[in-house]
Subunit: 195 residues, 2 copies
């Protein structure tokens, strides 16, 4: 009955994610998106709606594709799982394709993006998810005797979840990976029993 899209919306959305992730929503114009995707404005608006809706979709996509605490939650090794999570995080933030891009979620916290209730809901959901994943991993660690007697898994999870934002921000400004690794290692060591 009708024509079909001449492009793959999933591929396009992935390209858009990278634009918003690196440059932020305020400093990324529709023209930038047209240039990067090769799409026409008509196709863009017909498929995704306006800029704000496109940003929301991109943020959801970012969460689905780039969030790594799902693995953490299923990893029952305890502290090594947490260490691995942060090690991977820092490497992603400091080297390779996404070096100095920060985290799209952390970035959204700092911008005017979070004025949109739908965006703020994503930020909260993501933070709670990370807290829960860390809490689960810490309980697992506790069960395996990897935690000091006085350590509080819930409180430690909150501390580490906040710390992740610090890593994301500082890495975007070019912080040294080694330095971040050392700091996170110290934070994790703080809940372990004395050597």
């Amino acid at each position: 009955m009708a024509d079909v899209k001449h492009f793959d919306p999933d591929t396009v959305l992935d390209t858009v994610v990278r634009l918003f992730w690196r440059q932020g929503v305020a400093t990324t114009g529709i023209q930038d998106i047209v240039n990067a995707t090769g799409l026409n404005r008509s196709s863009l608006y017909a498929t995704f709606g306006g800029k704000q809706e496109l940003y929301r979709a991109a943020l959801e996509r970012y969460v689905q594709d780039r969030s790594r605490f799902g693995r953490l939650e299923e990893d029952d090794r305890g502290l090594p799982a947490i260490t691995e999570f942060f090690t991977g995080l820092i490497e992603t933030r400091c080297t390779g394709e996404f070096a100095q891009w920060g985290c799209m979620i952390s970035n959204a916290h700092a911008g005017t993006e979070n004025g949109d209730p739908a965006v703020r809901a994503i930020l909260d959901r993501q933070h709670q998810g990370l807290r829960t994943a860390l809490h689960t991993a810490l309980l697992s660690a506790q069960r395996q005797g990897q935690l000091a007697d006085e350590a509080d898994p819930a409180a430690a999870a909150d501390v580490l979840a906040l710390l992740a934002h610090g890593v994301n921000l500082r890495s975007r400004a070019g912080a040294d990976a080694q330095q971040l690794h050392r700091t996170i290692a110290a934070a994790i060591a703080a809940v372990a029993p004395r050597a």
Copy 2:
């Protein structure tokens, strides 16, 4: 010989700080600044230069006026000084005039602002300053027997400095002050000797 300014540049800059702090540089227009300050565009450009130079000046002013770790550095009580620093930080971030504004420095990390080397230099300087202040306070704590034997003041300072960014980000998205207080208390308690 000549006319004199009909306004106080210091007062104007303070107003500009609040605009950039709350809304960010990308989403704050020159028109917003004209409206908020009552200045004419001519006076604005003649006094401060363009938007980017104005932002840099505002960021420097923010650091001078709002940075609180100077007090921390001169406070030799040890852990209580650190607790007080974070307590005040969280209150400023969550209640009163600046509630949910976050920290202008943290916000700058997440935006395109940090592409400007002059801006990034301010961010680095500020982070190092906070690390040093915390380190000094922790050494003071250690001298007074407030630290566990195995605690590493330098590493703990790094952890707490990163944590501050977490507080700044999450508070901007409306995080609960009590929750933040509890988390920070746990992080500080982690370096204290077992009760």
